[in-house]
Each structure stands twice: as structure tokens, then as C-alpha cells.
């Protein structure tokens, strides 16, 4: 059996009285793209920091690319790339200089340096902007450069921490295409996100995280079938009507969730003829997310 890219068991991380990660298990098989889905404050970013030993766990087992953390973290870091949530490029340097610096930090030999930079520029589609200062780049280009910087040393594992947060939809799709390409080339990927669509599109397996724990784990379609059924019924109406629907549903033991302007009744396929009027739609990962984390999606 091939060794997993990431294996976490019972990981705990406390900050004073707050337990950010609370007995967390996670598996990223070699070559897989796993989505770490959870609301803000679920412990996703702390988990990412634990994986690079920028946070040290209070308990539990952590293994990255076969290296036990934190002791052998440096060997693991040499073979992984990290795309941070916050842009930390050197803004007064050019695109190429940013990559050059990281060929040194990732210890690429002199003979391969040129080639590594070219390959990273090509992946991020920035070859024609190589001489531009980071200050002059658009938000989307900067994000692509961040990804390219994490790939100069051809890592076996890529960590993406909220890769498309704050990007407009078009740029987001551009980045998805890039991640999809890496995935198809066999790079193991762990991607934290609170965008449901991002996880549904890119991840083969999704781990849903809430309050520092893994509350569900599996392929998106399976999670939907398991937790939200086949269909959902959206009932629209004024607030008073919505409260009434919720009250009735609770009486009949139907699972519901509030979606701002509507009440969603889950497992609509099992409802009999007296279900309220509304729109039927296929159940989705968002339904699962809200059910499991108790958080509303924004």
C-alpha cells in the first residue's frame, strides 16, 4: 500500500482556553485532492499551520509524506508546497525574482534553477509578465504567482489555504483550472475552503470540519446521499410563513434549514402528498455543510 500524503490521528491544538483543533483525523491519499471544508473558525487554518510545523500540536499523531511531525517536518516541507491565504509575495521584486528566491529556499541545484523557474512561469501562465513587479500585477496574477512559487521545486504535496478567497468569479475559475491541472498530473492536494462549490468541483474526497473535529468524510456525492438525501424542497414566503413551515416540519420530524429567504426541507423524495408548495431541486453539498456544521452559508 502506498504511504498516504497526509495522515492525522487525534490531533489536538489549544490556544490558552480555546481548543482550535480537537481530536482531528484526516487522510490525504497519495495523488488525491482532498477538500477541507468548514466554516470560519472551524480550525482549518490551524490545521494547515500544523502541517508545516508553524504550529505544534498538543496531542495526536501527524505524518506528512511519511515524515513524522514536528520532528521531521523539515524533510516534509522540502517536498511540499504551500499557498497561503494571505498574499506574502515580495512586492518590490519582479515575478521572476520572486520565483528565483524560492528556488534557493527550496534548495534547487544551480543546474535546474533556470528550468524550474520557466516551468513555474508556464504553469501559472505568467511567462510574458516575468519582468513585471508584483505591485503591477492584478489580483488574479498575484494569486497565480503564489501558486507558481509553491511549485518551483515540483512538490509531491500541495497545501492550498483558502486559495480563491476574495477573488472575483472569473479569476476563481481560472485558478480552479490550474488546480485541476495539478491534480491530473498526480500532485497530492489538500485544500481548505469555505466555498462549497470549490470543494464539490475539485475534491475527490471532502472532510467536513466543525469546532476542530472531522464531522464527515467521503466523496461529495456520497456525503450528499448520506446526509441530505436525493432531493430538497425550497419553500418560499414571508417570515411568518417560513416560521410556520419550520414548526410543521419539526412536528413531522423532517430535517430543515433556513436559507435566508426560504426554508429548505431535506430528503424531499420521502415526503408524501401533504408537503408544502415549493421548488424541488437535487440535494447538494451545501445542504450537507449546513446540516453538519450548523452554520449558514454566506
Amino acid at each position: 500500500m502506498p504511504e498516504p500524503a497526509i495522515r492525522l490521528r487525534g490531533v489536538v491544538k489549544r490556544f490558552g482556553a480555546i481548543t482550535a483543533v480537537d481530536g482531528f483525523d484526516l487522510d490525504v491519499p497519495e495523488g488525491a485532492c482532498v477538500g477541507l471544508l468548514g466554516p470560519n473558525g472551524a480550525g482549518k487554518s490551524t490545521t494547515m499551520r500544523l502541517l508545516t510545523a508553524q504550529a505544534i500540536a498538543d496531542a495526536g499523531e501527524l505524518e506528512v509524506l511519511g515524515h513524522t511531525l514536528p520532528r521531521y517536518s523539515k524533510a516534509a516541507r522540502a517536498q511540499m508546497g504551500v499557498v497561503p491565504q494571505l498574499d506574502n509575495l515580495d512586492t518590490t521584486l519582479t515575478v521572476e525574482q520572486n520565483l528565483l528566491v524560492f528556488t534557493y529556499l527550496y534548495r534547487i541545484g544551480r543546474a535546474q534553477r533556470r528550468e524550474a523557474i520557466e516551468a513555474a512561469l508556464e504553469i501559472a501562465n505568467l511567462s510574458d509578465r516575468r519582468g513585471a513587479k508584483v505591485d503591477e500585477l492584478s489580483g488574479g496574477m498575484r494569486r497565480r504567482l503564489l501558486v507558481a512559487r509553491a511549485l518551483v521545486h515540483r512538490p509531491r504535496l500541495l497545501l492550498l489555504d483558502e486559495p480563491t478567497v476574495g477573488l472575483d468569479p472569473q479569476v476563481r475559475q481560472e485558478l480552479w483550472a490550474l488546480i485541476d491541472r495539478l491534480r491530473s498530473e498526480g500532485t497530492s492536494i489538500l485544500m481548505s475552503t469555505h466555498y462549497i462549490e470549490e470543494a464539490a468541483r475539485l475534491a475527490e474526497t471532502v472532510t467536513v470540519m466543525a469546532k476542530g473535529r472531522a464531522v464527515a468524510n467521503g466523496p461529495p456525492a456520497q456525503l450528499v446521499a448520506e446526509h441530505a438525501g436525493r432531493e430538497a424542497l425550497e419553500v418560499y414566503g414571508p417570515p411568518a410563513r417560513l416560521r410556520e413551515v419550520e414548526h410543521d416540519a419539526a412536528g413531522r420530524g423532517w430535517a430543515t434549514r433556513r436559507t435566508g429567504t426560504s426554508v429548505t426541507i431535506l430528503r424531499a423524495e420521502t415526503l408524501d402528498g401533504d408537503a408544502p408548495q415549493g421548488e424541488r431541486r437535487p440535494a447538494n453539498l451545501e445542504d450537507v455543510f449546513v446540516l453538519l456544521t450548523g452554520e449558514e452559508v454566506t
Binding site: 497561503p84 494571505l86 506574502n88 529556499l105
Partner: protein, 259 residues
């Protein structure tokens, strides 16, 4: 199985240094300008201002006294301040250290690389006042060739101290307290612009634990003639200061950077 992790890996320190060197290419003009103009202003102000009142201090021509003293000032200014502000900006505002520590670089290597880089700059910029003083009549001597290494050594200590200060401070505004309470007195009671022999006894004792004073003395002796064991002692103090500040900087930066 994994090899035992190595500490102070040369490749990691080199990576940190390369990042600084490449960045330096984008701002060297401004830094070089201020590092050259500042000591010139000090030399002119003190040399001509006080020089008109006093011609000789502690057996030296006043211009020679100030010219050599300004070396230590230049070392201090070109190391402790860039280290304080640079470190704080890189970990707090630019998040640069997050990116570096995600690569195979540990905090120990990060701090060491940064301190070595700033020390190198201090070695160069610290020597500029001597060149300026030569324009104003300081005679060249062979001993001056040891000034850049002395400036490097002292710069390493002050750079480490600056990193330590940045690691300890919660906000960049708190740097003002450190500057007024610690750095300014150290800078004044070091025998740069006036000899400490004229100070009250408590201040003379205080000067002896001031690493900057030992740097001033060493530079003066380098230029006008070394004084045997006294200078070995000065070197020892500067080395001890550097090692202590370096280890403390690593310890407190680790606390700051690794949760």
C-alpha cells in the same frame, strides 16, 4: 526513514540571505544614500561645531576622535534599526516569514540568515565614516583594514538585538520606548562624541557594560594602534554580546513565529 534533521543548515541560511540580497537590489540606493549622508552630517556638526571649542580630546585630535566614534554610531544605526523594523514588518505586515518557514527553513536559520545579512551591511556602511573622516584630514593607517570586520562583528550583535526587540514588542509603536530608554542612552554613553572619562563614576561603569563603548574603543585602537590585551577584552565583550543576543533572538522569534 528520514535522516536526523540538521540544525543551522547552510542551504537554509543561504536561502534567507539570497532573499535579502535580491530584495536589496530594489532599495540599495536609498539605504546607501542615508548611510553615507548621516555620518557625514554628524562629522560636520560635531567636528566643526565642537571642534571649534575643543581641539584635543583624550589625546586625539577632535576630528579624529569623532571620526572614529562615528563608526560605532553608523554600525548601530545600520543594524539595530533595520533589524527591528525589518523583522517586525516581515513577520507582522508582509507575512514574509510565514512563506519562508513553510519552506525547509527553521526559525534558527531564518534569524541567523537575517542577522548575518544585516551584519554584512553594517560592515560596509559602518566603515563609511572613516572614508568621510579621511576627507577631513584623518590619516590612513593599516589598522583601518580591521574596521570592516569589527563593524561586522558588532553589527551581528546589534542586528540580533534588533530582532530580539522586534520579537518582544507587541506593536511597532512600542519601538519608541526601546529607542528612548535603551538605545539613545547606549548611543550617547559610549565615548563616541565625548570621552567617558569625564562622566560621573556610575556612568563610566555603565559604559563598560555597553557593547557600543567596546566597539568605539576597538575602532579607535584599530585606527591609532592596538593596545594588546585591552583590545582582546573588547573583542571578547563584543563576541559575547553577539552570541547572547543571537541565541535570545532565536528563542523569542521561535516563540513568536511558531504557535
Amino acid at each position: 526513514m528520514t535522516n536526523e534533521p540538521r540544525r543551522l543548515d547552510r542551504a537554509a541560511v543561504t536561502g534567507v540571505l539570497v532573499r535579502e540580497v535580491v530584495n536589496f537590489s530594489s532599495y540599495w540606493r536609498a539605504t546607501t544614500f542615508s548611510s553615507t549622508v548621516e555620518p557625514t552630517v554628524y562629522l560636520l556638526a560635531f567636528g566643526f561645531g565642537f571642534g571649534a571649542l575643543v581641539s584635543e580630546v583624550a589625546g586625539y585630535d577632535y576630528v579624529e576622535f569623532v571620526g572614529t566614534g562615528t563608526v560605532a554610531t553608523a554600525v548601530l544605526f545600520s543594524s539595530v534599526f533595520p533589524a527591528m523594523f525589518g523583522t517586525f514588518i516581515k513577520y507582522s505586515f508582509q507575512r514574509t516569514y510565514d512563506a519562508i518557514l513553510a519552506a525547509p527553513v527553521d526559525t534558527e536559520e531564518l534569524v541567523t540568515g537575517e542577522a548575518l545579512w544585516i551584519a554584512t551591511r553594517a560592515g560596509v556602511y559602518g566603515s563609511v565614516p572613516l572614508l568621510v573622516a579621511m576627507v577631513f584630514g584623518l590619516d590612513p593607517s593599516w589598522g583601518m583594514l580591521t574596521v570592516p570586520p569589527i563593524a561586522f562583528l558588532a553589527g551581528f550583535g546589534w542586528a540580533s538585538a534588533g530582532i530580539l526587540i522586534a520579537a518582544l514588542m507587541k506593536s511597532i509603536d512600542n519601538f519608541n520606548y526601546v529607542t528612548s530608554i535603551v538605545l539613545t542612552p547606549l548611543f550617547l554613553v559610549a565615548g563616541t562624541y565625548f570621552p567617558i572619562s569625564e562622566l560621573p563614576e556610575w556612568a563610566r561603569v555603565a559604559a563598560n557594560v555597553n557593547p557600543l563603548y567596546h566597539c568605539v574603543e576597538l575602532v579607535r585602537h584599530a585606527v591609532f594602534g592596538f593596545v594588546g590585551w585591552t583590545d582582546v577584552f573588547h573583542v571578547a565583550v563584543i563576541v559575547a554580546f553577539g552570541l547572547t543576543a543571537w541565541r535570545l533572538a532565536i528563542r523569542f522569534m521561535t516563540r513568536r513565529l511558531v504557535d
